[in-house]
């Protein structure tokens, strides 16, 4: 049994649907039932079993169960228990309830295997209500100037979080094909507003004043150049850095992440009551050194998970 393995195996428990965690080629997949249609959409016809939150299943005397990670819809932490020793593997997670993913629950454990994509004190998220307020204000300002707003967020997770909170009183929401396809899969799982797919036939005049949600890979493409005049924004934790926004040549950056910020990581670690902390991806060396100074038994483990950077550059399969 493997958790989010990156090489093909017989049996894999999958934390969530992002490509660096759910890879192609395993013989059997186990994941939360909400994630089943999502990974089927991404990986095609696979042999997959869906589980409930907290439902336990035992394989070779080891007890497994899935618990909400709050990262994206259908994302879980994986709890593993053997002879009373409990380990928790977070996959990716965030502590803020975003209203789309089932909210994160801290799970008591002895060893906590955590991501730390944003494991630096420079990352501090504001409540999403404030961020969405800014995003909607930005959209309506652009509308007032007769421009189309284009906002980038990866197609599974961030896109639906954006869709949920965009204020449709301002205008219509258009979507890039990759996002529309994924959103169709998610509609039966979580309510989503009405969206219109941008196609070859879509006239740029009808987009004016409205908002287009697109994956980051669409930035700079011919697809987007047709939309002139437009203004671009990106919704990502990396937007906390001015340099990151400038490097991507994006007009506006909104700091909105599906991962924990520094404080979120520290609080989660504390809430698990764990003594051993293993960091898998992100600023692992820095986070681990800090935890060691705080008295934890901490170490890093090299993995191929990429966190938000991977999600941003993830190939859109659709």
């Amino acid at each position: 049994m493997y958790l989010d393995p990156w090489k093909p195996v017989d049996k894999a428990i999958i934390s969530h649907g992002h490509a660096d965690h759910s890879r192609w080629g395993h013989k059997a997949y186990i994941t939360h039932h909400i994630n089943v249609p999502i990974i089927k959409h991404r990986l095609g016809e696979i042999n997959v079993t869906g589980k409930e939150w907290g439902e336990t299943f035992t394989i070779k005397n080891v007890k497994f169960s899935l618990h909400p990670a709050g990262h994206i819809i259908g994302s879980s932490q994986i709890r593993v228990e053997h002879k009373g020793e409990v380990w928790v593997f977070t996959g990716d997670y965030k502590t803020e309830d975003d209203g789309v993913a089932t909210p994160y629950e801290p799970i008591k454990c002895h060893t906590f295997i955590t991501e730390c994509t944003f494991g630096l004190p420079a990352f501090k998220w504001r409540p999403q209500s404030e961020v969405f307020n800014d995003i909607n204000t930005w959209w309506s300002d652009n509308k007032a100037e007769g421009k189309t707003s284009v906002i980038f967020g990866y197609s599974l997770g961030k896109a639906q979080r954006l869709l949920r909170y965009l204020d449709t009183d301002i205008g219509k929401i258009y979507t890039h094909g990759a996002i529309e396809n994924m959103t169709e899969v998610i509609r039966p799982l979580s309510p989503m507003p009405e969206t219109t797919r941008v196609t070859r036939e879509t006239k740029k005049e009808e987009l004016l004043g409205n908002i287009v949600v697109a994956p980051p890979s669409a930035h700079g493409s011919t697809w987007i150049r047709k939309m002139v005049p437009y203004v671009t924004a990106s919704a990502s934790g990396w937007m906390a850095f001015r340099g990151a926004r400038r490097r991507r040549a994006i007009d506006k950056g909104f700091i909105l992440s599906d991962h924990c910020d520094w404080q979120g990581l520290l609080e989660s670690v504390e809430a698990t009551g764990a003594e051993k902390i293993i960091s898998t991806h992100g600023y692992t060396d820095i986070f681990t050194r800090y935890l060691l100074e705080q008295g934890y038994d901490a170490r890093t483990e090299a993995t191929q998970y990429e966190g938000e950077l991977g999600e941003e550059t993830e190939k859109e399969q659709e």
Partner: protein, 535 residues
């Protein structure tokens, strides 16, 4: 300060130059006059001296953020900007300030002389009370360099829009030494003030690199060619029996080149020459590396003057007999310059003429260009004979036509995180060449540019997985990747471990087809050092 921070936020929220210019124009229309002066000063790199050293800044910021100093340092390496790191790690505040930008700058200037405890209290209270953007701007003012994606050119454009004064005239007004502490907006921008103009240089006319073939420039007979000298572009001003030497960076460097005092006697008042400061000894032009020893020094010793004497290689005359003659055709200006030169030249006068050349064909020009390294030049300059002397970088009348760079294949050995838009990416690299026994790689150059964003990203990911050792922000990596490194010039150097200094090294190609054994040796590099001919 609130309005200024809002301005920076607005500029930060767009990637489009026009919107930045509009935001600045609006600001210049409504801001209090002295705030405008300071804004101009800050955006033209005339910031007040740093009142607190960065070690103290880091220590105090990490204290306030309640994190260990090492964690602050690590964050800084990743964020890539000290002021931004400070603004990010300190607990959030939504407060705003009513104090003006001018008040802040006056306080910051006064702060320099205050005792350490007072400095600390001042910084803490501002960091705590200001919101993110105000805190960022405040820290930027303290840390010094104020690069925020607004060039001086862009600022001047906005100022022109806001005041209705011509861009070129504004560029001239903003040149030279003026002190934002004492000058008013009225004096700096609005008034005509002749007395101030004594030391004022003219904005430099800058050339673009030639894009395609010189044939595209039309008939060769309409052009003068000159060698492109590799020194310090400078203006030498003689007015009212005084000498002023300006570098292209708008720095007054008169004191660094005392040999030019001889020009006050030799040249008539009301003369401004444009040319290149070059090291020149025993009848031979030196390398830029020789000149380096003169650039950094505040006090030039007699020994240094003897070791590395300099000359002005003049190529243009901008003012003659107190008259601005920039509108005359280049050919006319050259006649004046050449006549003047013939009249004043002596064996010892540190003034040489950069000879113009005329060619029958572009092929003949190309042949001369091939000779560039032998005469210690970087290539040719092509100047249209009938061109006026323009302001700033303009396409059309002046072109630089450099020789193809020298290249060598080297191995990537160290990587460092970049700054600004490259923060959090390993983009600054160190390269090594093989020693004689082909056993060890000797560092010979650092390079930061030449790869595409995609290549940088993929190399960044590779570096993170193939780190050998960490030294603060620097990592040593497994020798594996070979790059073709291009550079403009090369000279022996005692200051470099390799014994060789290269000029403008950059990555020309990522040689994925080569193994590290295929990289060049240090000896190969030394073979490229040219043997200068007597000028």
């Amino acid at each position: 300060m609130r309005a200024f921070a809002q301005l920076i936020k607005k500029i930060d929220s767009t990637n489009k130059t026009n919107i930045k210019v509009d935001a600045l124009t609006e600001y210049f229309k409504v801001a209090p006059p002295q705030d405008k002066v300071w804004t101009i000063a800050i955006l033209s790199h005339r910031r007040p001296p740093r009142p607190v050293n960065t070690t103290l800044l880091r220590t105090w910021a990490s204290e306030l953020a309640n994190i260990p100093l090492w964690l602050f340092e690590e964050s800084y390496h990743i964020v890539g900007d000290l002021a931004e790191t400070i603004a990010l790690v300190i607990p959030a505040s939504e407060e705003s300030t009513d104090k003006s930008l001018t008040q802040f700058l006056e306080e910051i200037i006064a702060l320099k002389k205050k005792p350490e405890e007072e400095k600390r209290a001042y910084l803490r209270s501002n960091w705590t009370d200001l919101n993110y953007y105000e805190r960022f701007v405040f820290s930027k003012l303290i840390t010094g360099s104020f690069r925020i994606g607004v060039s001086q050119k862009l600022m001047t454009r906005a100022l022109a829009k806001a005041t209705g004064i011509d861009v070129d005239i504004l560029a001239y007004k903003l040149m030279g030494n003026w002190d934002p502490k004492t000058i008013s907006f009225q004096e700096l921008i609005l008034e005509e003030n002749k007395a101030d103009y004594l030391s004022k240089p003219y904005p430099f006319y800058l050339a673009y690199a030639i894009e395609d073939e010189p044939e595209d420039l039309g008939n060769v007979s309409e052009w003068f060619a000159e060698h492109k000298w590799d020194g310090i572009r400078s203006q030498v001003i003689i007015r009212d029996n005084e000498l002023f030497v300006w570098s292209r960076g708008e720095e007054l460097v008169t004191d660094k080149y005392p040999e030019f005092e001889a020009l006050v006697e030799a040249l008539p008042n009301g003369t401004v020459l444009d040319g290149e400061i070059l090291p020149f000894k025993n009848g031979v032009i030196g390398t830029f590396n020789d000149l380096q020893t003169r650039i950094g020094r505040k006090n030039v010793s007699k020994a240094l003057l003897k070791k590395t004497p300099v000359i002005l290689k003049a190529y243009d005359i901008l003012e003659w007999k107190d008259k601005d003659i920039r509108d005359l055709a280049f050919a006319e200006r050259r006649k004046i310059l050449e006549k003047l030169y013939t009249e004043v030249t002596t064996e010892s006068l540190p003034l040489h003429l950069s000879e113009t050349m005329e060619f029958d064909s572009w092929d003949a020009a190309a042949q001369e260009r091939e000779r560039s390294r032998e005469v210690m030049s970087e290539g040719l300059m092509l100047k249209r004979k009938d061109s006026p002397y323009l302001v700033g970088r303009k396409k059309g009348d002046w072109w630089k036509w450099k020789v193809d760079p020298l290249t060598i294949d080297a191995v990537l050995t160290y990587a460092m995180r970049g700054h600004g838009r490259r923060s959090n990416l390993f983009t600054d690299y160190t390269f090594g060449l093989w020693d004689d026994n082909k056993e060890e790689l000797v560092t010979f150059a650092k390079a930061y540019s030449g790869l595409t964003d995609k290549e940088f990203r993929s190399l960044d990911a590779w570096i993170k997985k193939n780190t050998l050792e960490r030294f603060g922000p620097v990592r040593s990596v497994t020798p594996h990747h070979v790059f073709e490194i291009a550079f403009e010039g090369i000279a022996p150097s005692k200051r470099h471990k390799s014994g060789v200094a290269t000029r403008f090294p950059r990555m020309l190609r990522w040689r994925k087809d080569k193994k590290i054994e295929d990289a060049n040796t240090l000896e190969d590099l030394k073979q490229l050092i040219p043997k200068p001919e007597k000028a």
